[in-house]
Symmetry: C2
Subunit: 187 residues, 2 copies
């Protein structure tokens, strides 16, 4: 149940509404964990029932009413417990879930040129994403000034992971394309 803990982590930076939380999630954790707004609201309800957080409603006249969530002691304790007990997911840390690779694996039903097409599209997508990633460092510097430089240090490490990951993916795609192209000529 990592989504709950991700949300605890964000709320630990500061109190937020579900809406803000959703935006913040999208701008930060979403690179390595995805969740839709509807799921986040559901989890927030569950966590309030748990006693990990409390909410208070703010009545607004110019905008829709909103509900601000705050961690409780129990919520902070749970976050700390989860952060310091990492053995659990070390085995799953490496796992991929990629329909793209599955498709390639089974790709012999396709023509080689079709496989080349999907590899090219993949490489393009990686490059696009890498460009965004590179600009993330500046953005992190900016948020680091607001939320504390100590936090930013860890954010930079994960952004660095993103870059390494994407560079490796591009490097592989280049190799794979070359292999398949040589294959066409050789046949």
């Amino acid at each position: 149940m990592s989504l709950k803990h991700g949300l605890l982590g964000i709320l630990n930076y500061k109190d937020m509404t579900g809406y803000e939380l959703t935006k913040t999630f999208e701008d930060s954790l979403s690179f390595f964990w995805q969740a839709k707004a509807s799921q986040i609201y559901r989890e927030l309800n569950a966590m309030e029932k748990n006693g990990w957080l409390i909410s208070r409603q703010i009545i607004q006249s110019d905008k829709p009413n909103k509900r601000i969530y705050t961690l409780t002691g129990a919520g902070k304790a749970e976050l700390a417990r989860w952060l310091s007990k990492p053995q659990a997911d070390i085995e799953s840390a490496i796992r991929l879930r990629s329909a793209f690779l599955m498709r390639l694996f089974l790709g012999n039903e396709n023509s080689t040129s079709q496989s080349l097409d999907i590899l090219e599209a993949y490489r393009k997508q990686c490059n696009r994403c890498l460009a965004e990633m590179s600009s993330a460092h500046e953005s992190i510097e900016h948020y680091g000034k607001i939320y504390g430089r100590d936090n930013a240090k860890y954010w930079q490490l994960t952004a660095l992971y993103g870059e390494e990951y994407l560079q490796a993916s591009i490097h592989w795609a280049d190799k794979a394309i070359e292999i398949l192209k040589n294959d066409i000529e050789g046949s």
Copy 2:
């Protein structure tokens, strides 16, 4: 619904029981898609209702009875359709889902030495997995002789991805550990 298509893909190599399919899945697709036996049986039922496959039961006296699944024409058509229509998941091809990275991102609540511990454990795990991966190439050669060399070509490409991915992960972990260590000395 990629699991269904993965199963179609395996059954396209040869007819199998749910049990064999589960083993084969574990030994091949599981590097980039995970599924438990119970889920596979459920999906097989759904796919038989769909008309993508049919099964016939084999009564055995020495061992438990078994049920052999065979693709129908509709099943083969669906597989071909899915393989040749890849635009759909190119945006999700890169997505990670990693509680490990989430933990690191939020890791400022931990001590630096705790963060170093989890990075070391991660690197170890990557190395272990990379060693297995390297031996996969031989294993693929072997299965290629049985199921056809054309298939094996694509299997090798995905295995190559596994190696690049793990090497990049290890490279990053080394960097990250160095950064955090310098940080301790500097403070």
